[in-house]
């Protein structure tokens, strides 16, 4: 939710001098820690409890997911480069890096779509067993967050193309970045816990 104009109250006075929207995003991220934490609890509690296969060790493709993980990590790099460009009002570079972030996000999502269809082909559906249910719910929730981020970034990109994004909007880009990096950070945890600690 982006409140574009500063509120009347904000224009007048801000006790800490920190932007309202940035505080909102950090508090939201705090709340998201509990959301992903609860999903992670579900995944870990049910690990090894499926009564029928396929089981994780038969399906998880580590080299493939390493590549998509790398893609998502690099998208975070694009994001910080985008913010740095917008802050110095270099909108040509800013546009480029914002678009690159979104595209890498899309590539990650494509990888996830491939992985999901592959699993379904191998016989693991949402309702097959506890592994399927908890895996698809956890990684699916993360994927949905990535998708929201991609739409958000593309919106910024379109605004930039129309000349409606400048260094005056650096705060908006920074907040988008906070969201994007958090989604990346969640994946760092999921990558290790789901794929490497089978």
């Amino acid at each position: 939710m982006t409140e574009h104009a500063a509120t009347a109250a904000e224009q007048h006075h801000s006790y800490t001098g920190l932007p309202n929207r940035k505080l909102l995003m950090w508090a939201f991220i705090g709340s998201e820690c509990m959301l992903f934490g609860s999903l992670l609890i579900t995944y870990l509690v049910y690990r090894g409890r499926s009564v029928v296969g396929p089981y994780p060790e038969e399906l998880l493709n580590i080299p493939f997911i390493t590549v998509t993980t790398f893609i998502l990590l690099m998208s975070s790099l694009m994001m910080v480069l985008a913010l740095a460009a917008v802050q110095r009002n270099d909108m040509r570079q800013g546009k480029l890096w914002i678009l690159m972030t979104a595209l890498l996000g899309l590539a990650f999502l494509a990888g996830q779509a491939y992985e999901f269809t592959h699993f379904v082909h191998e016989g693991l559906g949402l309702t097959t067993n506890l592994f399927g249910a908890s895996f698809f719910l956890l990684t699916g929730t993360h994927g949905a967050h990535v998708a929201v981020g991609v739409v958000w970034l593309l919106t910024l990109f379109v605004m930039a193309m129309r000349g409606r994004l400048s260094s005056a909007d650096a705060e908006t880009v920074e907040i988008t970045g906070l969201y994007w990096h958090f989604v990346d950070v969640v994946w760092i945890v999921l990558f290790t816990v789901i794929y490497l600690l089978v």
Partner: protein, 104 residues
């Protein structure tokens, strides 16, 4: 509470590139460790440490928490501690660490 003056002391583009390189390398190391059988006994703590290091790098540098106001740090780290504590408690309750109070 402090003012946002600290905000202007941002990481440079060079720092970002270094951090990204480290993130890539650590990920490669994680995957490599996974395939080394000799490391099997310490695999879990090792991987969790490396993962935590990546987590800290992204949060500290890309999200600027290292340079930013203490208020943001509190808003993030407080909830993170609660979440991690509850995850650990639940794993103990369900006997995921082996034995313990769990096995319900």
């Amino acid at each position: 509470m402090e003012n946002s003056t600290a905000q202007h002391e941002h990481a440079s583009v060079k720092t970002y590139l270094v951090v990204a390189a480290v993130l890539g390398v650590v990920t490669a190391v994680e995957v490599a460790i996974f395939y080394v059988e000799a490391l099997e006994p310490i695999l879990v703590p090792l991987l969790l440490t490396l993962s935590a290091a990546k987590f800290a790098l992204v949060v500290g540098f890309f999200m600027h928490l290292k340079y930013d106001s203490k208020v943001f740090r509190g808003l993030f780290i407080g909830p993170l501690i609660v979440a991690v504590a509850i995850i650990l408690a639940m794993l103990a309750l369900f006997g995921v660490f082996g034995g313990g109070a769990g096995g319900a």
